[in-house]
């Protein structure tokens, strides 16, 4: 009897252990299929930035937002960032809030990197989609290509991000509308 109960509980555990990674995939696919796509222009990567294993670290131009009262915000605080598009079709921050936006699904859950308290106070925002995983041999080439493209003003690098109700998935990184994975083949 005890053996049967133990085995049944184990089967339940198996389902739970499948559910967690499974739900990660389902959520990812849902955002990819039904989320709104935004192009986030990337900033030059610091060449000294340690290159960890197999991924490319990205920084985005649209990561600062002016605020009125810096004392209302704290470092590492969770925030919600409403995303819109500028005149060139690239992502820009419309609003920042401590609670989810009800008027639109096009917002991202992020955190405050730091609060700039000088005469024009701003929030420096840390997005969760700042890492692109690539193969260990492709990633260094991708990083070099990306850095060179940011030095050359005729080249435009951006990350294509699908956004929906706080979730954001970095689909790919493009340089002049060509996927970085194709460029490093």
């Amino acid at each position: 009897m005890i053996k049967n109960i133990t085995f049944l509980l184990f089967i339940l555990l198996v389902f739970v252990q499948w559910y967690v990674p499974g739900s990660m995939i389902v959520k990812h696919e849902n955002v990819l299929k039904t989320g709104q796509a935004f192009k986030f222009k990337t900033q030059p990567i610091d060449p000294a930035d340690p290159f960890r294993g197999r991924y490319v670290t990205l920084q985005y131009e649209a990561d600062e937002f002016q605020i009125q009262n810096p004392q209302d915000w704290k470092r590492e605080e969770e925030i919600f960032v409403l995303i819109g598009e500028d005149g060139e079709g690239f992502a820009q921050i419309e609003k920042v809030s401590k609670t989810p936006f009800e008027e639109s699904p096009n917002y991202v859950k992020a955190s405050i990197n730091y609060v700039n308290t000088n005469s024009a106070p701003k929030l420096q925002i840390q997005y969760p989609f700042n890492v692109l995983y690539m193969g260990e041999f492709k990633a260094p080439k991708a990083e070099t290509l990306h850095r060179e493209s940011n030095r050359d003003s005729s080249q435009i690098a951006y990350g294509l991000v699908k956004v929906k109700n706080g979730a954001a998935i970095l689909e790919d990184v493009f340089i002049n509308d060509v996927s970085i994975s194709e460029l490093v083949e």
């Binding site: 085995f7 509980l9 990660m24 969760p128 700042n130 193969g135 998935i169």
Partner: protein, 430 residues
């Protein structure tokens, strides 16, 4: 060694030293022990083998990773999980009584769960921080401790929740990881069951060492702005360790088989040695203490819980051994609490109390060592005095001559005390 003893049995029996029944009992005893020691070896190699096989598979797959598509990546990410779950299922149905099977299959599944989540995050470019990953991983594997009765997974669980707590508590901006307490409490039924049934096993010893290490590392994370108060918390924790070491199940063990005693004594002595210096008390007395918000601070509640626990254990110890037999170092938390709150106003009081407490403890151990003919206790007392003098050596308010004389006196004390005990032992033997 075992073979030699068994070979000697016939000789002893022939010489009439032992009878046949005794010889047979000795023979059976050593056979059982050699069987259990070979079982332990099998167990260790099984766990190592499972870990190495899992790591090897991951490395081979990683080498060919770039050539595969997303679907293949996903299947491969789940494959170790499926294998681990099948092994555990098989163990539960067919090999439930085999420790080697239980430990090896659960260890494999533990790492398979983490690998699966990490790979899925990588394949689908999902963000997330390390602390959330560790928390999810630990919680998904905690049931294995109970279902598979796996001590190895239990040890891994303690290590991972400690890692999680340090990330939450020590990484900027840092806040107390209250969830760590709940996570540790979830494991207490298993640890208690291990204590009841296998208190002398290696696995239980490893648990003791790991839990002690975990508590020492994470206690500091419960500080939130008034870190100076955590001295009281740490000394209370070390007092608790010493008091636990006097429980009947631990009291009969050799010193290094009793981790609570080792870490407790070491912790108290080192803490008091640090607090015996002038510089620290001058620093403590100059700090701003926000006593208006004391009752809402995590430092206050941490100290309150630990002090209450220590007092409860003193009462418990008193029923085991009587008050006189309780290690004086176990009272360190009472002395230090007084010393702290008076010392931040009058530093000299704090300095004197810490020095006198250590001196008193040292004299107690020396006397008890002589009474009970216990070289370990005697030398512990002498080591405490020596450490105190060494620390004072670097205290430049005391002259060279004074320091030199103190060293010589303690050195002579070492020789005399040890000589007396050894002489008494020889007289008894003669």
């Amino acid at each position: 060694m075992t073979k030699k003893i068994i070979n000697d049995l016939q000789e002893l029996h022939a010489a009439g030293i032992i009878n046949e029944e005794t010889a047979q009992k000795i023979h059976d005893y050593y056979n059982v022990n050699s069987t259990s020691s070979s079982n332990r070896l099998t167990l260790v190699f099984s766990i190592l083998g499972a870990t190495l096989i899992g790591s090897g598979i991951i490395l081979i797959v990683a080498h060919n990773w770039d050539n595969l598509g997303k679907s293949a990546h996903t299947v491969l990410a789940f494959l170790p999980l499926i294998i681990g779950q099948m092994l555990c299922g098989f163990t539960l149905l067919k090999r439930k009584e085999s420790i080697a099977w239980r430990e090896a299959s659960s260890t494999f599944l533990f790492f398979a769960v983490g690998t699966c989540i990490a790979l899925i995050s990588q394949i689908y470019n999902l963000g997330g921080d390390l602390s959330s990953f560790l928390l999810t991983w630990s919680l998904l594997c905690l049931p294995l401790v109970y279902l598979m009765r796996s001590s190895m997974v239990s040890l891994l669980y303690i290590a991972y929740i400690t890692w999680y707590a340090t990330l939450i508590g020590y990484d900027y901006p840092g806040h107390p990881p209250y969830l760590y307490i709940g996570l540790l409490l979830l494991l207490t039924p298993y640890i208690y069951q291990l204590f009841q049934t296998h208190a002398k096993s290696n696995f239980f010893n490893f648990h003791c060492w790991l839990i002690i290490g975990s508590l020492c590392v994470t206690l500091g994370t419960f500080s939130d702005g008034q870190g100076e108060l955590m001295w009281i918390a740490y000394i209370s924790l070390f007092s608790i360790f010493i008091l636990i070491s006097r429980f009947p199940q631990f009291a009969e063990r050799r010193i290094f088989g009793n981790p609570f005693l080792v870490i407790g004594v070491l912790g108290i002595v080192v803490s008091f040695l640090i607090n015996s210096s002038t510089d620290l008390w001058e620093y403590l007395s100059k700090e701003d203490y926000d006593f208006s918000s004391l009752f809402s601070s995590p430092e206050f509640w941490t100290n309150a819980v630990l002090i209450l626990l220590a007092i409860t254990l003193i009462i418990k110890n008193e029923t085991f051994h009587g008050l006189r037999k309780i290690h004086p170092l176990a009272f360190g938390f009472i002395v230090y609490s007084f010393a702290f709150f008076i010392g931040i106003l009058v530093p000299m009081v704090g300095i004197i109390l810490c020095n006198v407490f250590l001196l008193w403890a040292a004299i107690y151990y020396i006397n008890r060592g002589k009474e009970e003919d216990h070289l370990g206790l005697l030398n512990l007392g002498l080591v405490i005095i020596t450490a105190l003098i060494i620390v004072r050596f670097f205290d430049y308010d005391i002259s060279f001559v004074t320091r030199g004389i103190m060293f010589i006196l303690v050195g002579i004390g070492f020789f005399i005390a040890n000589h007396q005990i050894l002489k008494r032992r020889k007289e008894i033997q003669a």
